[in-house]
Amino acid sequence: MYNYVVRRVGFMAVTLFFVTLIAFAVTNILPGDVALLILGPNATEQSLEALQSQLGLNRPLYVQYIDWVVGLIQGNMGESLRFGEPVAQLIAERLPRSLMLAFAATFIAVVLSVPLGVYAAINQNEAPDVTASMFAFVGISMPIFLWGLVFILVFAVWLNLFPTGGYVSPSEDLVGSLTRLALPAGAMGFALTAYIMRMTRSSMLEVLSEEYINLARAKGMSQRVIVLRHALKNAIIPVITVIAFQFSYAFGGVVVLEEVFFWPGIGKLTLTAIQSRDIPLIQGCIVVVALIYMFSNFAADLLYAYFDPRIRYGGDD
C-alpha cells in the first residue's frame, strides 16, 4: 500500500509537470501574438511593445515558463488584465462555489446511478435493463447545457418551483442557496447518472460472470447475497475511478452550465477570461481545473487501493 501511494504521487508529479507545460504551451507557443490578441488588430506598435514588456513576453519562452511555474508554486498566478486583481484571489473566491455545484451533482448522480446500474445488470436484457439503458443513452446524448435549459423550462418556467438561476452564499441564506443549487446540480447530476450507471452495469455484468460467483452459487448462496456481498464489492472498484472521472468531468461541464444558470463560479470566470482574452486568468483557471481533475483521480486511486485488498495488503510483501 505504502509503495503504491508513493508510486502514485510520483506519477502525479510527472503528470503535473506536463499539465503546466500544456497550459503554458497552448497560450504561448501556438501561433498568435498574445499581446496582439489582447489589444486587438488596431493596436499601435508602441502599445504592443509596452504590453509585451509589461507581460514579460519579450523574454525567452523557457524563462517565461519557469517564472510562471515558480509563481504558481508560490500561489502567485499573476494579475488579471481585466479585473486588475490577482488571479489567485479571483479563483479562490469562485472555486468553492463551483466545488459545491460539482459535489452536489456527483452526489445526486451516485445515489441514483449505482442502484440503477446494479438493478439493470441483474435483469440483463429484460425490461428494467432496457429501460434504464435507454434512459442512459438519452442522458449522455444531450449536451449538459441543454439539460440545464430543459430543467429551467420545466422546473422554473412552467412549474415555478425554483429560481431560474443566480447564486446566494449558503452562509447568508441557506434555503435560498439550496433552491438555487437544485437546478444546476440536478441537471448536471442527471447527465452524470447516465455515465456512472452504464459503468456500474457493465462492471457488474463482468463480475457476475466470474468463477467465484459460480462457486458462490454452488455453495447455495441466495441471489441477494451473491449480488450484494460477492459481486457489488468487486464491481464497485472500477466504478470509483469513473465517479472520480465524472466529478472532474462535472468540472468541465460547469463552464457551460454556470453560463446557463448565471452561477458565478470558476466556469463563468474562465469564460469571462476567454471572452476578454485575459491570458493570465485563462492560464490560472485551466491549471486549477486540471489540478482538481488530478487530485480527484488521485483520491480515486487511494479509494481503489483501499477497496481492493490485493493492493491494500499487496505492495509491501
Partner: protein, 299 residues
C-alpha cells in the same frame, strides 16, 4: 503420418476466407439492434448532410421580419426564428457543420492518437511512460475548456474548432489504442515475428496495428458523438461557428432568449443534436458488442 481432416477442401479461392470473415461480421452486425439502429441514423444523417441544399426549402440566411417567430406550420414545419428564417432549413443545413466537425476532428485524432498509442503500447518502458504521462496531462483538462482555450489563440473559426477538438480527443484515442497494443504485444505472434527476424517498425505497423483497429473504431465512433456535443457547446458559448452559420449549438443559444415565446427555436436543434449523438453512440456501442470477442462468447 496422421492427417487431420480439413473442413472444406473444395474451392481454393484466395479471397474466400476474407469474404466469409466479412460476411460473418455483417451477419453479426445485422443481428445487433443497437448497431443497426445507430448505423441507420448515421447513414440518414450523412444523406441529409449531402443533399441538404436540395432538402432545405428556404434560404438559411435570408431574413424575413414579417414571418419571424412563427410556430411550426405546414409552410414552416419547425417554425421560424426571431429573424424569420426557416428553422427546418437551418437544422438540415446545420447537419453539415456537425458532421464536418465530428468526422474532421476525430479523423485527425485517430491519425495521431492511434500511432502514439500503438507505439507506446508496443515499445513499453520509458517511451510508454512518457507518452502516457503527457496524454494523462492533456486529459486533465476538461475537453470543452481546453478547446475553448485553444480557440482563443487560434481564433473562433470552424476549421479551428476541428483542429482544437482533434487535439482534445487525441489522448482518448491514444489511450484505447495503447491498451489494445499492450494486449496484442503479449500475443505469441509478436514474439514469433521477432523470432523470425522482423524489424520493430514492421511488427508495429504490419503485425500489431491491424489487430488494434477494432477498439479504435469503437472509440472513434463514440468520440464523434462527443465532438458533436463539444462543437454545440463551443458554438453555444460563442467560440465555435459564428452567426449566421446554422450551427445547432448557436441556434440553441439564440433560442434560449425566446424559451417562453418560441420554444421551437430551441427544441428542434436540440432534437437534432440528440439524434446525431444517439446515432454515433449506438453505432459505437453496437460495434463494440459485435467486435468484442468476450461478448461473442456470451451470445
Amino acid at each position: 503420418m496422421a492427417t487431420e481432416q480439413e473442413a472444406n477442401e473444395s474451392q481454393p479461392l484466395i479471397s474466400q476466407s476474407q469474404r466469409e470473415r466479412m460476411a460473418r461480421f455483417v451477419r453479426k452486425f445485422r443481428s445487433n439492434t443497437k448497431a443497426m439502429l445507430g448505423f441507420s441514423i448515421v447513414v440518414m444523417l450523412v444523406l441529409v448532410a449531402i443533399f441538404a441544399p436540395l432538402i432545405a426549402p428556404y434560404s438559411i440566411e435570408e431574413t424575413n421580419i414579417e414571418d419571424r417567430s412563427q410556430a411550426p406550420s405546414v409552410e414552416h414545419p419547425f417554425g421560424t426564428d426571431d429573424l424569420g428564417r426557416d428553422i427546418f432549413s437551418r437544422v438540415v443545413m446545420g447537419s453539415r457543420i456537425s458532421l464536418y466537425v465530428g468526422f474532421g476532428a476525430i479523423s485527425g485524432a485517430l491519425a495521431v492518437g492511434a500511432i502514439i498509442g500503438v507505439v507506446a503500447g508496443y515499445a513499453g518502458g520509458l517511451t510508454d511512460e512518457i507518452l502516457m504521462r503527457v496524454m494523462d496531462a492533456a486529459m486533465a483538462f476538461p475537453p470543452v475548456l481546453l478547446a475553448l482555450t485553444l480557440l482563443v489563440v487560434l481564433g473562433p473559426e470552424l476549421s479551428n474548432v476541428i483542429i482544437a477538438l482533434a487535439f482534445v480527443y487525441t489522448p482518448y484515442i491514444a489511450r484505447v489504442s495503447r491498451s489494445a497494443a499492450l494486449a496484442e504485444r503479449n500475443e505469441a505472434y509478436v514474439e514469433a515475428a521477432i523470432a523470425r527476424g522482423e524489424s520493430d517498425s514492421r511488427i508495429v505497423f504490419s503485425e500489431v496495428f491491424p489487430n488494434c483497429t477494432a477498439p479504435m473504431l469503437v472509440q472513434g465512433s463514440l468520440n464523434i458523438s462527443f465532438a458533436i456535443l463539444a462543437e454545440a457547446s463551443l458554438s453555444f458559448l460563442g467560440l465555435g461557428a459564428q452567426p449566421p452559420k446554422p450551427s445547432w449549438g448557436l441556434m440553441i443559444n439564440t433560442g434560449r432568449g425566446f424559451m417562453e415565446t418560441a420554444p421551437w427555436m430551441l427544441i428542434f436543434p436540440a432534437l437534432a443534436i440528440g439524434i446525431a449523438v444517439v446515432g454515433f453512440n449506438m453505432l459505437g456501442d453496437g460495434l463494440r458488442d459485435v467486435l468484442d470477442p468476450k461478448v461473442e462468447a456470451i451470445e
